[in-house]
Amino acid sequence: MAEELKDIVLKYVTKEYLEDDSEPLTYETPLISGGIVDSFSMVSLKRFLENKYQIAIPDEEATPEAFDSVNKIVALVERFVAKKG
């Protein structure tokens, strides 16, 4: 699941936040600390992931740190998917 999830998140973040002439993202590109995604804009990504994977990520877990790269987001989502069983 991890590889598929990585690609889904990368595609979403690219479409949602990058301008046409931006440098391409990697799984490790710092999104929030790197100024690509502002902390407000995390909302749509969070809602997208919650809807797609039928999970609920509590606000206290949806921190800028937890959303700071594709890899970190994937780890977060996997944790909640696993919890769901």
């Binding site: 301008e19 100024g35 502002d38 407000f40 804009s41 909302v43 749509s44 809602r47 997208f48």
Partner: protein, 415 residues
């Protein structure tokens, strides 16, 4: 007192970090009234220098207009200097209500409430009208004061790519389950100078039962055929649910702002907006000045017409000279330099040539988007613009940026 060496040292280190990063802001002291021609002491301690101001928000050239000054003087005599009160205790004079009514008629809304500034209007409006069950969808380039106001509100906040209507519709669908949706935009974007597509936004809002709020601070008084604002330009007067705007720019430039819009939303602000409830009323002298401005701009469109011609003249001149500009048709004309140091160096070189125009760079604009933001005024005469153009060309040649593309400028100076 516990302002220890440790505490002082920490702040000093932070300030040094700002300075080392080239982001330290220094005020330039102006020794004359605000106008196209000003006298500036810069750097502090230097002899005064006469320069042409190309970066004021004095769009209509009314900041030092004799009739506005006269009205303010008379207001001072008739209504005193201060009110020593917030509005709802004993800080509302007849002239405050008169100004609110005039603004309502001018903006084509249902009601208006004055705030000490538009920053305060934006800080207060969201919390007053929305709850955690609602969502705010804002353009990613909205003004910092809207961002701060949104942060103070418990509603969910999402953003859209700048002026991307397809993205807006996606977000309206994504948040369809929310109680209320509020779409937020600047009318004219302060850094890029482009206007929001309010007609398309209003249609989408109607389709998805969303409200719309526009901050028209860089438009009220001069955008649209009679200067009503961006909603007039886009043909949607009466369709804006909330307009926030300022008196600190085209409308005399002193201070103050307002929330104007649907009757109930304005009333909610009167009841709940904290900057309205807990901050002093606008001084009578300012209210009288703005009332005079409203009279002047309602009677004649001469000044906004002149501004429109000046802005077109300036934009054409810079384009023909070979500068890279942000596209638009407003009096905000950003000259793109991309590199922060280049923007500062060009600004300094322009100053030496007698032109006051400031460089903007991260975090005020995105990384790699540094620029000189020029702002045109009805107070400019063609000779001001010609002199400024001459200086821009001279400096542009010196830095070898004329006729160069973004890629070429970036290749030479970096991002």
């Amino acid at each position: 007192m516990a302002y220890s060496d440790r505490i002082r040292g920490a702040y000093q280190a932070t300030l040094k970090g700002i300075e080392d990063a080239g982001l330290f802001k220094r005020e330039r002291l102006i020794h004359s009234p605000q106008a196209a021609d000003i006298e500036v002491e810069f750097p502090t301690g230097s002899p005064l220098k006469k320069v042409i101001n190309m970066c004021a928000n004095n769009y209509l050239g009314l900041s030092s207009h004799p009739e506005v000054i006269k009205a303010a003087h008379e207001g001072l005599e008739k209504r005193g200097y201060g009110m020593s009160s917030v509005r709802f205790i004993c800080g509302t004079q007849d002239i405050h209500r008169e100004l609110e009514n005039k603004l309502t008629a001018f903006l084509g809304t249902e009601d208006t409430l004055l705030f000490p500034s538009c920053m305060d209007a934006n800080a207060g409006v969201f919390e007053a009208i929305l709850t955690k069950d609602d969502v705010i969808i804002s353009d990613r380039l909205v003004h910092a004061s809207l961002v701060d106001g949104i942060r103070l509100c418990s509603a969910m906040h999402d953003t859209i790519k700048h002026s991307d209507m397809e993205h807006l519709e996606e977000k309206l669908q994504l948040h369809a389950d929310k109680r209320f949706k509020l779409v937020v935009t600047d009318g004219v974007f302060s850094m890029d100078g482009d206007a929001a597509r309010l007609d398309e936004m209003a249609s989408l809002c109607e389709k998805h039962e969303a409200m719309i709020l526009v901050d028209d601070s860089h438009a009220t008084g001069f955008i649209g055929r009679t200067g009503r604002g961006t909603h007039e330009k886009c043909g949607v007067v009466g369709k804006m649910d909330v307009i926030t705007t300022t008196f600190g720019k085209a409308l005399g430039g002193a201070s103050g702002g307002c929330v104007s819009g649907r009757r109930e939303l304005v009333e909610m602000c009167r009841q709940r907006a904290r900057p309205y409830l807990f901050s002093n009323t606008i001084a009578p002298v300012v209210v009288e000045g703005v009332l005079k401005v409203m009279d002047l701009i309602t009677k004649s469109t001469e000044r906004r017409d002149k501004l429109e011609k000046n802005a077109a003249y300036w934009r054409r001149g810079l384009t023909e000279a070979g500068f890279v500009l942000k596209e638009g048709d407003t009096p905000i004309v950003p000259v793109m330099l991309f590199n922060a140091k280049l923007a500062q160096d060009v600004s300094r070189a322009l100053y030496d040539e007698g032109i006051y125009a400031i460089g903007f760079f991260f975090p005020v604009v995105a990384q790699g988007q540094a620029r000189i933001r020029t702002q045109i005024s009805a107070g400019h005469e063609i000779h001001h613009l010609d002199k400024a153009l001459e200086a821009f060309v001279k400096v542009g040649r010196r830095f070898d940026i004329l006729g160069k593309t973004k890629q070429e400028i970036v290749a030479k100076y970096g991002l």
